[in-house]
Each structure stands twice: as C-alpha cells, then as structure tokens.
C-alpha cells in the first residue's frame, strides 16, 4: 500500500516539474508573436465532386496520392476512388462491417482497415490476377482498432481501444513494438513527415509523441477537457494539432514541449471528429458533430471559413499531399471533394 502511494506522489511531483520546465522556456507566446500579423482573408472552398456509392455511414477516408483515396463505411465496404472522375477503382467487401478506420500505403500498393473486430486487415491492390484480397490479418489488440497508418509496405502502426498503439511487421504478422502509456482508449494517430515518430490522441485527454524505433513516449500533451478524437502533425513536423469532444482544437509545439493556442468559439458546442492542416499549415480544417467543417487561421485562432453541405456528422477529413483539395466523409454516406 505504501509503495503505491509513494509512486503516486512521485508521479504528481514529476508532472509538476514538467509543468515548471515548460513555463521556464515560455519567453514568448504565439499570441504576442503574431500580434502584428493580419488574419487571412475569408476562405471559400466549393464542392467540386461528390463521391456516391456507400450505403451507410462513412467512418474514415485517407488519400493515397493526390488523386486516389480510400474510404471505409459501415456498409461493410472499402472503396478506392479516382477523385478526378468519381469512378470506383476498387470496391472491397469486408469480413466485418464494423469498420472504424482505413489507410492507403504511401506506395499505393495496399490499403488497410479495422474496427470492432480488433484486427487490422491488409489488402493487396496489386495482386497478380487483378483481384483484391486480404493479405494479412494483424490480430493481437484486445480492443477496437481506431486508426491505422502505413509506414511502408511492410510496417503499419495501429491505435486501439485497448489503450495501446502497435507497430507491426506485415510480412510475419507480428507485433514489433507495443506503445503503452495512455490511460484511455487510443482514438487516433498520425505519423511524422520524417517517419521517425508518431503521435496518438486518447480518451485520457492527452496526446503522446512516440519514438517509433525505441518505443518510448518522448512527450505528453494535456489541456483538453475531454477525449481527443483527431490528431495530426503540422506539415513541418514540429507541431501537433488535436481535436476533442470538448469542442476545441489545440496546437502544441514539439520543440518547446507546450500548448501554443486553442481553436474554439462559444458558438461551437459539439465535438471535433477529424482535422487536417492545409499545405502550409496556415489553415486547419476541422470536422464537427454538427455536420459542418470549420476552417481556422492556425496563427490567429479565428474561423475564416466553413464547409457546409453534408446532411450528417462530418466523420473524417483529409487534404491531398499536394494540398490541392480536401475530402470530407460523412455519416450521410457521401464524400465531398472541396477546393
């Protein structure tokens, strides 16, 4: 009993020391630094394409390159779309329809998905006979699969409702590294542009930065007052953006290890489901439970635009690698391409 109490006291004391260390390097705030910068002008993006075909709620979308994207719906299908023509390149039936996430490998050779089956299923798009088949089923998580992201054709990172993230070897189907430390369901993950680290957002209201190779948690960011549903790296890899059920998004600076700013508005009272930065990071597009997507000026923390057009919750959003368009996916079963 005494040992546990001792450890708890030590944890609290270390947290206080981290808070003090952060304060000690805060000799400039973002607000002060950009006080002389003007807010960007109103951003008006139009729907250019509507991707129709799913029969139920869309839970995830991920761009493969700047033309092809994959979406996952609880109608039990993964669809790979040519967003320019709206054609379906592949319509992949899933064993389990309770899918919560999907990912496109950077090579374009594979897609992955998972959900309430607790597994991450890998599909080979470039099989010899042209049929798309399950290549591997990565099973070991004891909770739902909330997110997955490929590092390359042989490695994928998953986040789970079992509070862990895992780095898998796809060839052998084995867990290379387990990233444990979150105290709540892991809801989302993002891989750094240099592929050396990744970030996870969880229901313990924190975001963690992990070293992919040594498995250690390098940094933990708090401040949110509810579950973090969405997380992403800033395009330069030096900052992290989170979106939460507390109706706000936050920007954290990795180098000074602290929260920089919060994106919130008294008129927004519903949770953030998804987010994506624009190419320069000056804009942050965030999807909300109230069917809209708000566009924020990331430096001035003001809303500069809105994407409205969906008839239900915006569950997922992604910006193309070349920054030319963004795709929103919704519970209304449609995906929309905007620019």
């Amino acid at each position: 009993m005494g040992e546990m109490e001792q450890l708890r006291k030590e944890a609290e004391s270390l947290k206080d020391e981290i808070t003090a260390a952060r304060k000690a390097v805060q000799d400039l705030t973002l607000q002060d630094h950009v006080a002389g910068t003007a807010v960007v002008g109103r951003v008006q993006l139009k729907t250019r394409k509507t991707l129709r075909g799913h029969l139920s709620k869309i839970y995830a979308v991920h761009w493969g390159d700047s033309k092809l994207c994959v979406s996952a719906s609880q109608d039990g299908k993964l669809i790979v779309w040519d967003s320019y023509t709206t054609n379906k390149v592949h319509a992949i039936p899933l064993k389990s329809s309770w899918v919560m996430t999907c990912s496109y490998a950077p090579s374009g050779n594979m897609v992955a998905c998972g959900g309430l089956d607790n597994m991450c299923s890998i599909y080979n798009l470039k099989g010899k006979d042209g049929n798309v088949k399950v290549m591997r089923e990565l099973a070991a998580h004891t909770g739902y699969l909330s997110c997955c992201r490929f590092l390359n054709d042989n490695e994928i990172i998953t986040s789970s409702g079992d509070c862990t993230c895992v780095l898998w070897d796809i060839e052998t189907g084995s867990q290379k590294t387990v990233f444990a430390g979150h105290l709540g369901d892991c809801m989302s993950l993002g891989v750094a542009p240099d592929f050396n680290t990744f970030i996870s957002g969880a229901c313990d209201f924190t975001a963690k930065l992990w070293d992919i190779r040594d498995g250690q948690c390098r940094q933990t960011f708090g401040g949110h007052e509810s579950d973090i549903n969405a997380i992403g790296f800033f395009p330069n890899g030096n900052a992290v953006i989170t979106g939460s059920d507390d109706a706000s998004c936050k920007l954290y600076d990795l180098r000074s290890d602290q929260e920089l700013i919060t994106y919130q508005d008294s008129g927004i009272m519903c949770g953030v489901t998804s987010l994506a930065p624009s190419l320069s990071g000056r804009l942050i597009l965030a999807g909300y439970d109230d069917f809209n997507c708000n566009i924020w000026d990331s430096l001035k923390a003001e809303r500069v635009g809105v994407l409205s057009g969906h008839d239900n919750r915006v569950s997922c959003i992604g910006v193309t690698p070349d920054g030319m368009a963004c795709c929103t996916g919704s519970w209304d079963s449609f995906l929309k391409i905007w620019n």
């Binding site: 546990m4 940094q219 030096n238 430096l299």
Partner: protein, 67 residues
C-alpha cells in the same frame, strides 16, 4: 491513475522521468521558426493562393460536346 497496478505505476513514473529530460527549446526560438516556415509556404498553398488552382483537376476544363 487509480486503476494502475504497481508495475504499470512504476512504468508511468519511469516514463515521466524520461519525459522530464526532454531538451526544450525556448519559445522565442521555436515560434519565429514556425511562423517563418508557414509564411514561406503560404505562397504554395492552393487554398491561399488562387493562382495555383487555375488548373483545377476536379473542374472540367472543357464543356461537354454532344457527338
């Protein structure tokens, strides 16, 4: 933290010790570099620079022709 057993609590404390060691830059150094990066990239950002979207792959560039 109350749900953790002794091993998990020990790991939690060890992780906090490691995280405390992180080499933090001053915000007076990191913020100007962050904003400089953004401002330089804004010219190439299609959502901020309308010239880039003049060639928009999602918009038909020619009208439909009935043959």
């Amino acid at each position: 933290m109350d749900e953790l057993d002794e091993t998990q609590l020990k790991n939690h404390v060890d992780s906090l010790k490691q995280q405390l060691q992180y080499n933090r830059d001053k915000t007076s150094v990191s913020l100007p570099e962050l904003t400089k990066w953004i401002e330089e990239k804004m010219n190439e950002d299609p959502f901020l620079n309308p010239d880039i979207l003049k060639d928009n792959p999602w918009v038909e560039s020619s009208k439909c022709v009935i043959i």
